[in-house]
């Protein structure tokens, strides 16, 4: 076949390798954005419907009272600043019967002392049903002041190991993984058990996580009255909205949700035990656990659903400095690399379905390889400019479509937030819309560089232990 290009650049800029490179970049861009737009459309259709059903569902609140009881697992490593308030907020979660299991994962600070004093802990002899071997447990304690609170004191083994110790000790059929540095709404469990009651096939449920930095409390929930001054925080608010509402709220109705956040995930214990427990070999555990549950349920040929609650039920602080953000993003992308490596067999698996042919490929190509494409594209652009073969018109066209689609994705995330919770004042919404424009220049490229470092660190097997960054405590501020 002979192809004639009319109006194409002449010379080297119009040569076959350059045109092929441009076409590949463009095709990649189209494919990734097509999937993004698909999930946005699904979210826009499904989200108002689910909100309407919930609003009219007087049965909903009644239902949660009949929920199976929940074991709340709180791994804690050097969390002396916030552990007491975090545990107190979890003990007071309403409507659903629950026990709270704090797993002190060999903290070297005063985490354990704070717990002992605040909750009047006494040694408790637990005969655990040990499903997963963990690092040695030093002791188990029970609270005199809160009968449903237990503390496991164990040697350090990482978050996955701590969660496994919690699974061993948990008595109830549903497990809620929580973080000590997250603020939970008191009706968090009430909302999250509902997918399990409405659809018996549900094995896990994630939820929308809001950002706390700079928020005020309205009706017991954080609300952004003004745009945070910190530009990094603004960009991350937008990122969270895009991630949770455009993507996760869109993937969940398709049953292609690949991540249930470790800070706010409700799991069926059977599914976790069947899938082999939380991973102790990865730096984080949430993405890996979710993908493994997909893999496990599909191998077992069992019908299942991984659901998502669109209303924010917990809030966390995000990094406020470049150093904190860098550490977080390197860690995230390294974990993503681990998951892609472990579960590579899912990719375009012949006997697979939507997960193998759309969700997981999107994770690999649209998320994991995104920094390679983004930075590769940028380098290509710079190289062409240096060689003097840059077709200004075609590059401007490419930049404008990138810009236009990014703006549209930001606007759709803001609209979905408006539908689901309305967590920002109108002027904040407008400010975030402008942030979507400015984040294109610098922020996204920086994140891509850090993500690439994460991939490199995974490939070079550079060891990481524990959390690699510190962020402000959610309990530091006078809420």
């Amino acid at each position: 076949m002979h192809i004639t290009l009319l109006g194409a650049p002449t010379g080297l800029g119009g040569s076959v390798p350059i045109l092929v490179a441009e076409a590949l970049l463009f095709l990649y861009f189209l494919a990734v954005n097509f999937v993004d737009l698909l999930t946005i459309v699904v979210a826009l259709v499904a989200l108002p419907r689910s909100i309407r059903i919930d609003a009219g569902d007087e049965l909903g609140r009644t239902l949660s009272a009949f929920s199976p009881p929940v074991s709340v697992l709180v791994p804690a490593f050097n969390e002396e600043a916030e552990i007491v308030q975090a545990v107190r907020s979890l003990v007071y979660l309403k409507s659903v019967e629950h026990e709270v299991l704090v797993i002190n994962d060999g903290s070297t600070d005063a985490t354990m002392d704070r717990l002992m004093t605040a909750f009047d802990l006494v040694p408790f002899n637990a005969a655990m049903y040990v499903k997963f071997p963990t690092k040695p447990i030093r002791a188990m304690y029970k609270s005199r002041s809160f009968p449903s609170l237990f503390v496991i004191d164990k040697e350090n083994g990482g978050k996955g190991d701590a969660l496994n110790a919690g699974v061993n000790a948990a008595r109830y059929p549903l497990l809620f993984s929580a973080d000590a540095d997250t603020l939970y709404a008191d009706d968090c469990l009430e909302k999250m058990v509902q997918p399990f009651l409405k659809d018996l096939k549900t094995v896990a449920c994630g939820a929308n996580i809001g950002i706390l930095n700079g928020a005020q409390i309205r009706d017991g929930r954080p609300f952004h009255n003004a745009l945070p001054r910190n530009f990094l925080v603004r960009c991350q608010i937008l990122e969270y909205l895009r991630s949770f509402l455009n993507c996760r709220a869109g993937w969940a109705p398709l049953n292609g949700l690949l991540i249930v956040s470790g800070a706010c995930g409700l799991w069926k214990k059977d599914a976790i035990v069947g899938a082999g427990g939380f991973s102790v070999n990865t730096i984080w555990e949430d993405l890996e656990m979710t993908v493994r549950i997909h893999s496990y349920m599909r191998t077992q040929r069992r019908r299942y659903r991984i659901a998502f609650v669109v209303q924010p039920v917990c809030w966390t602080n995000v990094p406020e400095t470049i150093a904190q953000l860098r550490g977080q993003r390197i860690g995230w992308h390294r974990h993503l690399s681990e998951v892609v490596s472990i579960h590579r067999n899912l990719l375009f698996n012949k006997r697979g379905g939507l997960v193998e042919w759309l969700a997981f490929p999107n994770l690999v190509l649209g998320e994991w390889l995104a920094p390679v494409w983004q930075l590769g594209g940028l380098l290509f652009l710079i190289l062409c400019a240096i060689l003097g073969i840059l077709s200004v018109n075609s590059q401007l066209a490419l930049v404008s479509i990138v810009f236009g689609l990014m703006l549209m994705k930001a606007a759709s995330a803001l609209l979905l937030d408006e539908i689901s919770f309305r967590s920002h004042r109108l002027r904040v919404v407008w400010g975030l819309f402008w942030t979507a424009i400015f984040e294109q220049f610098g922020f996204r490229q920086l994140v891509a560089v850090w993500s690439l470092i994460g991939v490199v660190r995974f490939l070079t097997r550079r060891p990481i232990r524990g959390r690699t960054y510190d962020i402000p405590s959610v309990f530091d501020k006078p809420y």
């Binding site: 076949m1 002979h2 192809i3 004639t4 290009l5 009319l6 109006g7 194409a8 309407r52 059903i53 609003a55 009219g56 569902d57 007087e58 049965l59 009644t62 239902l63 009949f66 929920s67 006494v122 408790f124 002899n125 637990a126 005969a127 655990m128 049903y129 040990v130 963990t134 040695p136 447990i137 029970k142 005199r144 110790a165 009651l197 409405k198 659809d199 018996l200 018109n393 075609s394 066209a397 490419l398 404008s400 479509i401 810009f403 236009g404 689609l405 703006l407 549209m408 930001a410 606007a411 759709s412 803001l414 609209l415 408006e418 539908i419 309305r422 109108l426 919404v429 407008w430 819309f433």
Partner: protein
């Protein structure tokens, strides 16, 4: 084959998509502003509605006061408020009967019956749900056919709400509800429990008959807990005596037996302590803990070394329930040669007091 591609056309298309995206983004932002305005107006409307109707609905009297017109926009809020007040009223005592009469009259005089019928027929899912719930609470006979149709809905919440409404309208359909329950595995079990508990007077007479006559009727055994003991226990005994009962049925029957805890049921429960199915052993230990006496402790102690954690745990709890004297409990603990048995008993002792013997860590 020759293919001619005009590069400038591609560039124009790309620019077009970019412009359309920016325009779409701006439109979405405008939509947010419009929605915010609607939301504010809606909040104001709702506040006014509550100020007007709350005193009428929440403070029932013997005479129906003059009723304001229910505006079209307020219909769903009215139904939601009315449903919640009516459900909270119950229907047992004479006082509550008069409250129910008052609420029924208010709804009917406010012209809600035809509105609810229309919503249940043509509304969206949420509207249908609240409307059919209202029609059920009103025992509105003209809604029986409609409820029957909605029972077939693929949406479990709507289907179960319609089935509940039909039972309220026509108690003779209770058996049909149970038949549908056996077919609809997507109905939330907790909600079914709540409905059968709420309508126990209607369900009790048909439940035992349904258990023994319907195909798969044994799956209904668990609902016997909502009947009176003199209705439920003969059925439970019959199930436990029958050699043909499957494991799931026995498990449910033992659970119900444990809830009624008749004195004479202890021996029957004890028969299942050595059953091959561990879930049955759990229920047998549970039941025995509630209705047994000290003479059953030795049989329960044998379960302390069971291979299943939950059997050991429930057996230890049952022993603790049947042994008032903590010294006796310590004696039983010390007498165990199996480490798992000792540990489990130690845990349960620790749960009930804080001076339990130290156990060898099993971690």
């Amino acid at each position: 084959m020759d293919l001619t591609v005009d590069f400038s056309v591609i560039i124009r298309i790309v620019y077009g998509i970019a412009a359309a995206s920016v325009l779409a983004a701006l439109l979405l932002v405008v939509q947010i502003v419009v929605m915010r305005r609607w939301a504010r107006l809606d909040e104001e409307r709702r506040r006014n509605f509550h100020q007007l109707w709350e005193p009428i609905l929440r403070k029932p009297g013997r005479v129906i006061p003059p009723l304001p017109r229910v505006r079209k926009k307020d219909v769903e809020d009215f139904i939601i408020m009315w449903n919640s007040v009516d459900e909270a009223a119950g229907d047992d005592s004479s006082d509550q009967m008069s409250v129910r009469w008052y609420l029924d009259e208010v709804a009917r005089r406010a012209g809600m019956v035809p509105i609810a019928l229309r919503l249940a027929r043509k509304g969206n899912t949420a509207s249908r749900l609240i409307a059919v719930t209202m029609l059920g609470l009103l025992r509105e006979e003209s809604a029986s056919q409609l409820s029957e149709n909605l029972m077939a809905s693929t949406l479990p919440v709507l289907s179960i709400a319609a089935a509940h409404a039909l039972v309220q309208i026509d108690p003779s359909t209770a058996r049909d509800f149970l038949i549908l329950r056996l077919k609809r595995n997507d109905w939330p079990p907790a909600k079914v429990d709540a409905i059968i508990a709420q309508e126990r007077v209607i369900f009790a007479p048909v439940l035992v008959e349904a258990i023994f006559t319907l195909p798969e009727g044994k799956r209904l055994v668990r609902y016997l807990e909502f009947c009176d003991a003199d209705e439920a226990l003969p059925a439970i005994n019959r199930i436990l005596d029958a050699s043909s009962s499957d494991d799931a049925t026995i498990r449910s029957a033992l659970k119900v037996l444990g809830q009624f805890a008749p004195r004479e049921g202890a021996d029957r429960a004890a028969q299942f302590l050595k059953h091959a199915n561990w879930e049955i052993r759990v229920q047998a230990a549970n039941a025995l803990g509630r209705m047994g006496d000290a003479s059953q402790v030795s049989a329960l102690a044998e379960l302390l070394g069971d291979s299943e954690w939950w059997v050991r745990y429930r057996a230890a709890q049952a022993i603790a329930d049947l042994t008032d004297d903590s010294g006796a409990l310590e004696y039983i603990h010390d007498a165990q040669s199996d480490r798992y048995a000792r540990d489990m008993l130690a845990q349960v002792m620790a749960e009930r007091s804080y001076n339990a013997p130290q156990l060898v860590a099993v971690f």
